[in-house]
């Protein structure tokens, strides 16, 4: 309909520009070939809805790198983290490609969000680059039998199992037979919440606990009153919740408004161990349990080296960021520190095969890392010695209570006191 | 009072007015006549400042108003009653009238003005709480005229008042225009397709054809003009 002869030249010009851009890019690659520093890739969601926890992990990564660099780095060279922002799977693919092919990294640490981990680790695998996952919990990430993928954290369903198991163990204290215990499950409906809930259901079936309500919702919702009302109606003894921060705050606030008062409330990370959660609820946060990685357990349960590192991490982190590290920051630190301090020196060179061998050879007992875990990867790259701990909020602080050797206190308050009467929890 | 000298106006790349000149003296009724799309509405839109001339001069009481904003021109005292009436359909008649008196000076005296308007158009007082969109065509036209008067204009430009009205209704409206001119002494620039009416109502007429003024003069003389008779009166 229109004479196109000329518009084509317009396009051709654009193409030439993009060609030039590519030409320039080629040089960057050459630079990467002769590194003066040890480059490690990082992929995290630094923008978008998951930015908050992504940033926490990023802080941990940064601090671990500082620690290692202060000690002289790896192989006598300083470590540089090359970062990619991946708010979603497509961006993760882009960034993984960029880090691998343009920055020339041989190992990528990530990614906290499961969707990001899925996509980025796929690219890493195809390029034979190590993907070092610190905190994405979706079960099926490690079900793909990838060769270059290592995950330090436990699976989501294991987290759900742990929290449900703990609830079952608390039943006698309520003078209820676990078989008669009624449980409400609520979770946000992304892969994280869904997988945790599956683990909870599994244990509920095994222990005979009765799941009276199971509510799933989008974490982007503005109102959870329908969920709250359903739970209120079912009057469960325990609520097992999996939330992100916004919906977690919303739920507990609306639960308070509606006078939902279970005997046990337990969360599964993501929200229920975050300072923002406590800030929003004040004293009412006390008595709430959380299952997940902890950054505030009793370091006496750790092996001596780990304990020293734990203390150093806590103080340096607070000095640098002006607040206590969250569990996500601790996991980030742990993952990066293990990578830089153990795996890479062991591997001896920036070579994926060697790093893989070194990682597979890792055999660290429980209590040897700053989050309490040991490290031993199975054939799928899943760490078999990771486990969640149980915390309880006391005096608006996350206090670890289980496993016993990491517990800071024996004083566990059950059942949960009524709303507004929780200041004394743990005392 | 109003003097237009050789203005050119274009819509985009199409020039619609070519060297149009006309003038209006205080107290008179002047009609601008011509066929559909001859450029009548364009001319008064340009006077109102809705369109900007590409060339030429428009002066009002000695002030050059070409290129001024519409609100400024309204404040100076030129008010247009637009073609198709363009009432605010979901506002009451009273509100429509009140909006007519939007400029500060008109707003001050709006209570007196509204009395005059109601005297001219008693039906508007009866309908004052009704939504303007629900009025009949003739009533709407009266409301539009009333709204124009509320601005306390020195020059009232009335665009195609008879459009869409039955002859009887049109007659009433024309009579009231005459009335406005007589009682208030209002200067009126009338834009009309209906040549008969215009010739009877106005003292002087300008005939536009294809964006050019082809004839002008006192209505009596024009009535006898063979070109006009042939082109517009079907004689």
């Amino acid at each position: 309909m229109y004479k196109k002869g000329l518009s084509v030249w317009f396009i051709v010009i654009l193409l030439i520009i993009s060609l030039l851009a590519v030409g320039c890019g080629g040089k960057t690659e050459d630079k990467a070939a002769a590194p003066e520093k040890v480059k490690v890739g990082v992929i995290l969601p630094l923008t978008g809805n998951l930015a908050q926890l992504g940033q926490e992990v990023n802080n941990g990564f940064d601090l671990a790198t500082e620690f290692v660099n202060a000690k002289g780095g790896v192989w006598g060279k300083q470590v540089e983290l090359v970062k990619g922002d991946a708010p979603d799977a497509t961006a993760a693919t882009s960034e993984a490609n960029r880090l691998i092919t343009r920055e020339g990294v041989k190992v990528i640490a990530g990614s906290y969000a499961s969707a990001v981990s899925f996509a980025a680790s796929e690219v890493a695998e195809r390029n034979k680059v190590i993907y070092w996952e610190q905190g994405a919990v979706a079960d099926n990430i490690s079900d793909r039998h990838l060769q270059y993928f290592f995950r330090l954290i436990y699976k989501a369903s294991d987290l759900g199992r742990a929290s449900a198991q703990y609830v079952a163990e608390l039943a006698p204290q309520l003078k209820i037979d676990p078989k008669d215990l009624t449980v409400a499950i609520m979770n946000e409906d992304s892969n994280y919440g869904t997988a945790v809930a599956a683990g909870v259901k599994d244990i509920a079936a095994k222990t005979g606990m009765k799941v009276v309500v199971h509510e799933q919702y989008s974490s982007k919702t503005t109102d959870l009153s329908s969920v709250v009302l359903k739970i209120k109606q079912a009057k469960p003894d325990a609520i097992i919740a999996t939330s992100y921060v916004p919906d977690g705050i919303l739920f507990w606030r609306q639960a308070k408004e509606n006078g939902v008062s279970p005997k046990i409330m337990i969360g599964n990370g993501g929200c229920h161990n975050m300072p923002d959660f406590a800030a929003a609820l004040g004293d009412d946060v006390n008595g709430v349990f959380n299952a997940g990685t902890s950054s505030t357990f009793n370091p006496d349960g750790l092996l001596p080296d780990a304990k020293a590192l734990f203390v150093e991490f806590q103080t340096k982190y607070e000095a640098k960021y002006g607040r206590k590290p969250t569990a996500h920051a601790a996991m980030g630190f742990n993952a990066m520190y293990l990578l830089l301090n153990q795996v890479l020196p062991q591997a001896g060179a920036m070579d994926a095969e060697k790093i893989k061998t070194a990682a597979k050879a890792m055999d660290m007992p429980t209590g040897s890392t700053i989050v309490g875990w040991g490290v031993k990867f199975d054939a799928d790259g899943q760490n078999t010695r990771a486990f969640p701990m149980i915390d309880q909020w006391q005096s608006q602080k996350v206090v670890t209570i289980y496993p016993k050797e990491f517990g800071l206190t024996d004083k566990v308050t059950v059942p949960l006191p009524a709303w507004g009467k929780r200041a004394d929890v743990g005392k | 009072m109003l003097k237009i000298e050789n203005i050119n106006v274009s819509y985009g790349e199409v020039q619609v007015l070519h060297n149009v000149s006309l003038d209006v003296e205080e107290g008179e009724i002047v009609a601008l006549i011509g066929a559909n799309a001859a450029g009548k509405t364009t001319t008064i839109k340009t006077i109102s400042g809705l369109l900007k001339p590409t060339a030429g001069k428009i002066t009002f009481n000695g002030t050059n108003i070409a290129g001024l904003s519409t609100s400024k021109i309204v404040e100076l005292g030129i008010v247009q009653v637009p073609e198709g009436r363009l009432l605010f359909p979901e506002m009451s008649v009273l509100e429509n009238l009140e909006l007519g008196a939007y400029t500060p000076q008109a707003r001050k005296v709006r209570h007196e003005t509204i009395k005059t308007v109601f005297q001219l158009f008693p039906i508007l007082e009866k309908r004052s709480q009704q939504l303007a969109g629900s009025l009949s065509g003739g009533e709407q036209q009266m409301c539009a005229l009333g709204r124009g008067l509320m601005a306390k204009p020195k020059l009232l430009m009335v665009d195609e008042t008879s459009l869409g009205l039955s002859p009887i209704m049109a007659k009433t409206v024309f009579e009231s225009i005459k009335q406005i001119n007589k009682t208030v002494g209002m200067t009126i620039l009338l834009v009309e397709q209906n040549v008969h009416w215009s010739l009877r109502l106005a003292g002087r007429c300008f005939v536009l054809e294809n964006g050019k003024v082809v004839l002008n003069g006192p209505s009596k003389e024009l009535k006898e003009n063979p070109h006009l008779q042939k082109a517009y009166l079907g004689m």
Binding site: - | N36, P167, K171, G234
Partner: protein, 241 residues
């Protein structure tokens, strides 16, 4: 009779825009439809061309009821129209504008374009055919609109004020085109404002006022009909003192 309008009425809100109008048109006639502004001419056009259905009555094209068909079907059956406010497609070229019309009969684009060129030649608009619809003068737009409707190869063509806003030369050219269209065996219904013009070209004239048909006959009779004079020209003895 190629077009029969039988007791057609249309109501908007509480007002009858068209009230019980009937007339018939024989093949190859030129019918003038006149009346003062707001008489209901355009509404009648809209009813016939299927823009909206009548509340009462029927329209028959070649003996077939078309009054409940959608507009595009009516066009395909051979009745085309133009609009008073011209609606050229502004971002299409003149040629493409007309080709949209001819595609109704010639689904293959090259043929449609060829036909469109022929029609543009016919209406003498072939010079600037690469210009965009938005770049035309009013006279050209009117002609484009006519050409586009003509391109659908109608049996009946209804023209809504195609001469409004044109100067004398342009009006005469348009009249020439209208007569030429008639020679192509197309029946025409023409809405027009200017009496003189319509009188000269029509075989028969239908006069409307306030939604009703008030006269129907050959131009000379209609022009001398006192009701028509009163409705159309207004009461001469109006007192404006």
């Amino acid at each position: 009779m190629i077009l029969d309008v039988k007791n057609v009425s249309k109501r908007f809100g509480g007002l009858w825009a068209v009230k019980n109008v009937s007339f018939s048109i024989a093949e190859n006639e030129i019918i003038g439809l006149i009346g003062p502004n707001g008489a209901g001419k355009t509404t009648l056009f809209n009813l016939i061309s299927g823009y909206f259905p009548p509340n009462e009555g029927q329209v028959l094209l070649n003996g077939e009821v078309i009054s409940n068909l959608p507009a595009h079907k009516i066009c395909q059956k051979g009745l085309a129209r133009t609009f008073q406010l011209v609606r050229p497609f502004p971002d299409l070229t003149v040629l493409d504008n007309v080709a949209v019309g001819s595609l109704a009969r010639y689904p293959r684009l090259p043929e449609a374009l060829k036909k469109a060129e022929e029609i543009l030649e016919f209406v003498e608009l072939d010079k600037g055919k690469k210009r965009f619809g938005s770049e035309l003068t009013i006279a050209e737009r009117k002609r484009l609109e006519l050409a586009r409707a003509l391109a659908t190869e109608p049996k009946v063509l209804m023209l809504d004020e195609v001469m409004a806003g044109l100067n004398n030369t342009e009006v005469n050219e348009m009249l020439k085109i209208i007569r030429a269209i008639q020679k192509k065996n197309i029946t025409l219904v023409v809405i027009e404002h200017i009496m003189a013009v319509i009188m000269s070209v029509s075989d028969r004239i239908v006069v409307m006022n306030e939604g009703e048909k008030i006269a129907d006959g050959i131009p000379k009779d209609v022009a001398n009909d006192p009701t028509v004079i009163k409705a159309y020209l207004g009461e001469e003895e109006l007192d404006l003192a």
